[in-house]
Symmetry: C2
Subunit: 338 residues, 2 copies
């Protein structure tokens, strides 16, 4: 096996603003020979997620930064092509954290074996994986949706947002999605069953959002920030909950935007409407993994939670796909198939 060549993408420079092609470098190396207890993995699917933009910065965050000149980290669904552990055999499909590369050598003990007969293996990176669990734990723990309440989610056609709205429906809420463009809006409304979808690119976005939320907003699942948050804010009801999951609109900000300074308005709303804003990442709720897999797998099998994948072919297209993700060009869970 040692003749295998691995192509990988490393972080060549920390992006300033939008990640540029030159911030990455495609390299080819030999695949290392596995040691006892290790396996050689061939990547089938690489997950591209907005959080990766944060990891490209050096700043303190909840995950440690990606290292310069090291492979970009990322979750994968991989096939075992050589095993030096009795736990796994060649041909097994596993969930791994192999990063942006075609092959990886990893300790067998850390890998979760997937059952390809239970669900398509790619769902372990989406609706039945980290994005689905992010939606589930953030909405239920922080959002605490109650029957009849209005739940608004931004980036509603994305991997997390689409799950948030569908879980809100299961919990008896009015689900309102915000997405960019009519194609995404009709997907959210007509295929996923949200009660309404509002296009944030519309010149009448704020008025349309208000019309879609006649009883105000009780839960705003925040994936976006910026102008979307500013349109949501005046509609928030007393005691509204805001799980802060992501801020994709501002990940590329190289410095604070021009004024006026809106933070006093946000703080005033927090005070006078007794809002709860809480940031989280899915690993904060790792102990709820069993609940998530039980509930979400059942909902998925029953067709109550649908999903869509946006698949790009080949590692050489990963950078462009990631750049597009930050611009909202994907619809559904973005994956690179190798």
């Amino acid at each position: 096996m040692s003749a295998l060549k691995n192509r990988r993408i490393v972080l060549a420079a920390r992006p300033k603003g939008e990640p540029k092609d030159a911030d990455f470098r495609l390299e080819e190396l030999d695949v290392p020979v596995p040691e006892d207890g290790q396996v050689v993995l061939r990547t089938l699917y690489l997950s591209l997620d907005p959080y990766m933009r944060g990891r490209m910065n050096a700043a303190r965050s909840y995950a440690k930064p990606a290292e310069l000149n090291e492979v970009m980290p990322g979750a994968t669904v991989s096939e075992v092509v050589e095993s030096r552990t009795p736990r796994l055999s060649a041909g097994d499909i596993v969930l791994s954290y192999a990063g942006w590369q075609e092959y990886a050598v990893a300790p067998g003990a850390a890998l979760m074996k997937l059952d390809p007969t239970a669900a398509p293996v790619s769902t372990a990176l989406g609706v039945l994986g980290m994005p689905g669990m992010t939606a589930y734990t953030g909405l239920l723990n922080i959002g605490q949706p109650k029957e009849g309440e209005t739940v608004v989610v931004a980036a509603a056609a994305g991997a997390v947002g689409s799950a948030v709205g569908q879980i809100a429906k299961i919990k008896g809420c009015r689900a309102v999605g915000i997405a960019g463009g009519e194609a995404k809006c009709s997907y959210v409304r007509d295929e996923l069953g949200f009660d309404a979808a509002v296009d944030h690119r519309s010149p009448h976005f704020a008025a349309e959002l208000k019309a879609a939320c006649p009883a105000g907003i009780d839960v705003y699942f925040e994936n976006v920030g910026g102008a979307v948050l500013k349109a949501v804010a005046p509609l928030l009801n007393d005691f509204a909950r805001i799980p802060v999951c992501g801020l994709i609109s501002q990940y590329n900000l190289a410095s604070l935007p021009e004024g006026p300074d809106w933070s006093p308005a946000l703080m005033t709303l927090t005070l006078t409407r007794r809002l709860t804003l809480r940031g989280f990442i899915v690993t904060d709720y790792a102990s709820q993994s069993g609940d998530f897999h039980r509930d979400m797998s059942a909902w998925f099998r029953q067709g109550r939670v649908k999903h869509r994948e946006h698949i790009v072919e080949g590692i050489e297209n990963a950078v462009a796909a990631f750049q597009g993700l930050l611009k909202g060009e994907n619809q559904g869970k973005l994956l690179v198939r190798f």
Copy 2:
């Protein structure tokens, strides 16, 4: 009794920015004759509180706005001078919501009789009243301070802030106060027993705050907003809690301040450090009134919670005192004695 004259202060205009003298009007009227079930009250102490600035605006808030040309609302400790209810007798001292006036006629059923032998009656407007209960409920419910954590409170020499820091000490925390000027800081540190006090007017405020919080900040009790919040923010630890109780630095803002827009930075911190910001008002926790009175009265008697009153004499000085309150000119609970 009908010959009594009542002097009162009404809201003459909604202030733009800082409240000006012309926004208020001192009037003299006859005291109405009480009906059955009512009492005539003579104000002993009027409480002046920062929240009153918000009520002078017409905007939606947690309390309905003060009405133009009506008496400014406010809590008082008052003496019953005439009673038409068997529940109360002339000479009784009660907690009322009589507003900025010397006399009031009120239904006897709504008044809480005070026991002048248990504690000075003025404390019912401060440490043993609404400000104390604001500190107690906000800190314990939202702040959830744990032994050994660092609790920072702004406006630390004020009625609420001074109680927050002392309760934090009782709970085994490091208490750090932020206040304006050395007199307030030494009061907070030397008389109230905070571990440290930092002057927000110091040119080295941010560095001094950092030095006072060597283990970061776990709870920031927010009374101020603005520049103080911006200095606190980078010091917040993962999973820090921020009870949002007041925003005195921005109550006079007539429009949003100039940029840059700091709100994306606040949202990023909320996300990456998994902060919890929650607005509240004391009435949200009305059901905890029994717990508060039991604990705080005991701490007060034991000398574990101290207080200070800033007393201004006479209704004709109420407007200037309130203007000073918004500038931080008081030290301790601001009261007008009639």
